[in-house]
């Protein structure tokens, strides 16, 4: 677990006068789930977008697989993937067609086999010919997740993947992700507003507040440091106190 997959150094993003991300440094190691948490507007999504090369940082360096993202984005992104509750699939395509398009975009070798496998894993096999626009939000999320695994990524960026899911489906999704992680040694950067989920899923967490990292470590250690009984309470303390 010591090999860093992602190394972030002094990452900064300024929007006009707002410092959305302020000199953030951290690493994600091979096979770990790193949870990014913090109140709305803390900068979680912006960090993820910078790691995907969708937003250009003002300062700082991102290295993924030991190579600078700015120079090697295409090769890096080929082995990464992304899923967000706020980004959808083309809504006039069927589930299977979506996966075919993305299998091609990522130049997946055994497309049919991979797609069949993912449809099974995410239990969307029976709706493979349904149009995306007719899916429930739980089904859409599972399709998004299936897409995010189409290229067997080594690093996965998941932005609030379980938002808008009912507790049952959310729980199933978490189990699935953990299973996948165990099987494939994938690294995952994860955000969620569900603190229980963060505690359960993350090997380590990073607590962001107004663009700054204010705590970092294993969930249990962070809880201890803040002298609280769980992450939820840590979150409330941080979110409600101005001075951090």
């Amino acid at each position: 677990m010591l090999e860093p997959i992602v190394e972030v150094e002094g990452l900064t993003k300024v929007f006009k006068s707002l410092k959305a991300v302020n000199k953030v440094s951290f690493s994600i190691y091979s096979g770990e789930i790193l949870g990014l948490l913090g109140p709305n507007g803390a900068g979680k999504t912006t960090i993820m977008h910078m790691l995907l090369g969708l937003t250009t940082p003002n300062e700082g360096e991102v290295k993924i697989f030991g190579r600078p993202l700015a120079k090697h984005r295409k090769e890096i992104i080929q082995e990464a993937n992304f899923s967000s509750n706020y980004v959808s699939m083309p809504n006039s395509l069927t589930v299977k067609e979506c996966l075919k398009v993305f299998a091609r975009l990522y130049q997946v070798k055994n497309k049919e086999q991979k797609i069949t496998e993912l449809l099974k894993i995410f239990e969307i096999d029976d709706i493979r010919n349904k149009l995306v626009r007719h899916l429930s939000s739980g089904q859409q999320t599972r399709l998004n997740l299936a897409k995010s695994l189409i290229n067997d990524p080594k690093i996965l960026f998941l932005d609030e993947p379980t938002a808008s899911l009912d507790p049952d489906i959310a729980d199933k999704t978490r189990r699935l992700l953990q299973l996948i992680k165990k099987k494939s040694n994938i690294s995952i950067l994860y955000t969620s507003h569900n603190m229980k989920e963060m505690e359960e899923m993350s090997d380590r967490i990073i607590f962001l507040h107004k663009g700054n990292i204010i705590a970092e470590g294993r969930p249990a250690d962070v809880i201890k440091r803040f002298k609280r009984k769980d992450l939820e309470e840590v979150f409330l303390k941080v979110a409600r106190e101005e001075r951090y």
Partner: protein, 263 residues
């Protein structure tokens, strides 16, 4: 640049047409109506022979040709908007897909649609009016290709502007093409324009196409000069529009607007 990724997005659009009747209609509806109306007018005009007002065939030909340019432009900008509206845009650009691959795929989709439409029109013209486009129209093909390329340039610029200015700029997807209509000499020769518009028309590839078309209809022959002018200008503009898109793509990533597109 990978063909595979261009093909991936090409299929994303082909899947749509395979299933959607309104979309298939869109490919057939306007061209077939154009053809029917144009055909009957021609049949009607044939009765006059001698005192046929010359401007009518000009006018109709121009209408159809302008439509081709307009469709080429829309092929780019409206397909782009579909990705934006279905909130799929970030999924695409979080993949190894590059901006040029994206644009090429839109061109490929548009071009394929056009070929299908043109073939159907040619077949219909043959069945309905025993009119063989390949006898008369072959020399029009290079001109038509020039109109398509000019439409693409406008489409790419429109797309770049929508990326940059967001929803307010979406109306450009329909409007920007028409801005070039007055100086494209679609329905009248460049000579009728006031001097400053003439000066602009000089730099508009379509103006040479339409001047060329008029000279084919009235004098016959092949207006090579016009063709070369429009070709040369088009090459410059398509390259510039790609550069503009690339530059804009970079600016938009810096401003954090790429991830906000459609919001």
């Amino acid at each position: 640049m990978r063909l595979n990724r261009i093909v991936a997005l090409f299929f994303r659009h082909v899947y749509l047409y395979r299933r959607s009747i309104p979309r298939i209609m869109e490919v057939l509806y306007w061209p077939v109506l154009d053809l029917v109306v144009w055909g009957f007018i021609t049949v009607y005009l044939a009765q006059f022979r001698q005192n046929l007002p010359k401007f009518i065939p000009f006018f109709l030909g121009a209408l159809i040709l302008w439509d081709i340019l307009f469709r080429a432009q829309q092929g780019i900008s409206v397909s782009f908007l579909e990705d934006v509206w279905s909130r799929n845009f970030l999924n695409l650009f979080a993949s190894p897909l590059g901006p040029a691959e994206y644009i090429f795929s839109l061109m490929l989709v548009g071009f394929t649609k056009l070929i299908v439409t043109a073939s159907i029109m040619a077949a219909l013209a043959w069945f309905l009016y025993s009119f063989n486009i390949f006898l008369v129209g072959i020399s029009l093909i290079p001109f038509v290709l020039n109109l398509i390329v000019m439409g693409w340039s406008i489409g790419i610029i429109t797309t770049a502007l929508i990326l940059r200015f967001g929803q307010e700029a979406e109306v450009l997807a329909w409007a920007l093409g028409f801005l070039f209509m007055p100086v494209s000499a679609v329905f009248y020769p460049v000579a009728v324009l006031p001097p400053f518009l003439q000066a602009i028309a000089q730099y508009i590839p379509a103006s040479y196409v339409f001047e060329g078309m008029r000279s084919v209809i009235s004098k016959g022959g092949f207006p090579l000069d016009e063709l070369l002018w429009s070709l040369g200008l088009n090459i410059i503009y398509i390259v510039l529009s790609f550069l503009f898109f690339y530059w804009n793509f970079r600016v938009v990533k810096k401003k954090g607007l790429l991830v906000r597109i459609g919001e």
